[in-house]
Amino acid sequence: MRFQPTADQQLFARTVRELLEKECPPEAARAGFSAERWAKLREMGVIDMLASGMTEIDLVPILEEAGRAALPEPLIEAAMIAGGTLDGVVTAAVGTRYAAHADVADVIVIERDGALYSVRRDAVTLQPVETIDAARPVFLITGGLESGTALEADRDLADNRATLGAAAELLGLASRCIEMAADYAKERHQFGKPIGSFQAVKHKLADALLRVEFARPVVYRAAWSLSRRDETIERDVSMAKAMAGEAAAGAAKAALQTLGAIGYTQEHDLHVWMKRVWALNAAWGNPDEHRARVASAVLH
């Protein structure tokens, strides 16, 4: 029993953080997809980690960093669903009806009769779907679903990997929401004091942090179960998505309440992170759906 990320895993995560601090500052996170950034992620080996023999565990800290940066690109889809096996810009509509960034993708992974296929974007018909998260546009695929090249990957494995990926990104998103709120609470003064000195603010943010910190080991355990193809994959991945999702939703809400009106505008960055939390919380099964799956597993 040794339940900590390895030094290598931590080191790679730090490298990715540095890349994203440079390539994906908040104004870039607002702007949405960048082909140039995609190329850099490709070059760094972030997208093809599974294909190059790394495991789901190695990807958790990387996806957490993607969440921290509110990275717009379809990293979950390319790295976790396609498993890093496809070239170009890759997205997917597997385990979700809505394919993120399908308009800029070269290939899209779809599911048909329980199997996965890669299709070229120009072979399918896309219908844009308006959502709250403008930096991560999503699309319904309304035609061309009978085309494509069969992939070897297992459909359920891909779905569970994507769900884990969303859980990991949600951890990073949540941490950053709490940091933004704490930073604001140190600076903003009311009644002659920083608002962070009021217990109402302190306790709200402490509770938000609590949920995030206890969700993190749950996400790593799900990655470990996936990496071993354990029988408990479904239960463990669902538990990860449910707990990371609720933690992130709670963190976003606590951050908004701490920031007050400024958090309700586009002048502060919080809204970008908050909207991504809502988007990823709903994708690949929301916390209620996943908690029901855990209930079935432990009660029957």
């Binding site: 998260d133 109402a200 908004l256 009106a261 505008t265």
Partner: protein, 374 residues
């Protein structure tokens, strides 16, 4: 104690329901968009033409002299019909009750009719960049020059300020004063020289808020509501509760709760959420009952004090919980544009505006429970 409506109240309800049945509002775009603004304004005109825009006002100013109970009945029928939030709500629900209580006859005659007709849209000028929860620290000032105030400073979070014609707000009229003292309640035309309105993009990208910069803006001293220096008292007066009720009447929340029940039934039966759906309906119904309770007390001559803070806590958290429950029911479709998403995003602001819920809890603890100030 009698919870049954009187024959007169029932007749009023029937008249409301009949009019809305024949005049369906139809779906309108967001009032924070230019198109939506005009759609909402024409809807308000239709209301006004039929004398529904301010039913509880005196007839002289465009109302029907409805009782508070009748007002609540109107609201139930209004939102049951699917009608939208009121465009001029700051004028109707925040300024008008204060004008009726503290305004001179001239002020009432000048300002109330165009509020009812929606010819003049109002925004509020309370908050400042450094005076949010701590409103009493505001620094925008009014300097007397003959029969005029010279206004300087900056107001912020003026909802729909970019579409507004007028702003009501608090200004420090006694330069040597501190905190709650020496403030005056002043009405400011936004087309006056020296006023600059800067839109602030809300979370949804629409210019729902504005900053209002005042640079040597001159307004007549006659634009003061109530006595000079009494602004805080006037703004926070007992009209507070009544304003609270009319601002967030139960009708809208009951309509939301009923739609939530339908959503739950449509979406099949995720049983784990049944409990939250039932809670949502119960919370809305309890708010309705508590409002009738408080309004009955008021109508018997009772007073309402810090209960207004309990009210604000209840409706804001109930509204958020209802919309969060809807988001959970919608599953993968939760972030998609539509009325439930709009309602969710709007409900997130509830615990922030009109005095944050942290401030409201302080008020309840100190004024109702008698706990010591921090």
């Amino acid at each position: 104690m009698d919870l049954a409506f009187t024959a007169r109240e029932q007749a009023f309800r029937d008249e409301c329901a009949s009019w809305f049945g024949q005049n369906p509002p139809g779906p309108l775009a967001s009032m924070d968009t230019p198109d939506g603004f005009e759609q909402h304004r024409s809807w308000e005109k239709r209301l006004h033409d039929a004398e529904w825009s301010a039913v509880n006002w005196p007839r002289a100013f465009g109302g029907r002299e409805a009782t508070l109970i009748e007002w609540l009945i109107f609201e139930e029928e209004y939102y049951r019909a699917g009608a939208p939030r009121r465009l001029n709500q700051n004028g109707l629900f925040l300024l008008a009750p204060t004008l009726l209580e503290f305004g001179t006859e001239e002020q009432k005659q000048r300002y109330l009719p165009p509020i009812a007709s929606c010819d003049e849209i109002w925004c509020q000028g309370w908050s400042e960049p450094n005076a949010g929860s701590d409103l009493a620290s505001l620094t925008s000032r009014a300097t007397r020059d003959g029969n005029e105030w010279v206004l300087n400073g900056q107001k912020t979070w003026a909802s729909r300020g970019v579409y507004a014609d007028w702003m009501f707000g608090l200004f420090r009229s006694d330069a040597s004063s501190e905190r709650h003292r020496g403030l005056s309640y002043i009405l400011v035309p936004l087309d006056a020289p020296g006023v600059t309105v800067r839109p602030i993009a809300q979370i949804d990208g629409e210019p729902g808020f504005a900053e209002v910069f005042l640079d040597d803006v001159r307004v007549p001293v006659a634009n003061t509501l109530g006595p000079e220096g009494d602004g805080w008292k006037i703004a926070m007066s007992t009209a507070g509760f009544e304003r609270g009720v009319v601002l967030r009447s139960p009708g809208r929340f009951m309509a939301t709760a009923d739609r939530l029940l339908e959503l739950f039934k449509e979406r099949g039966s995720p049983v784990a959420l049944q409990d939250d759906v039932a809670r949502a309906w119960m919370n809305a119904d309890a708010y309705r009952l508590a409002t009738f309770w408080a309004v009955s007390k008021l109508m018997e001559g009772g007073t309402i004090g810090a209960e207004a803070s309990l009210n604000k806590l209840w409706w804001s958290e109930m509204d958020l919980h209802m919309h969060e429950t809807a988001q959970r029911l919608l599953g993968e479709d939760a972030p998609l544009d539509g009325p439930w998403l709009d309602g969710f995003v709007f409900s997130l602001a509830g615990p922030i505006y009109a005095g944050t819920n942290e401030i409201q809890r302080n008020i309840v603890a100190e004024r109702v429970l008698g706990l010591p100030r921090s």
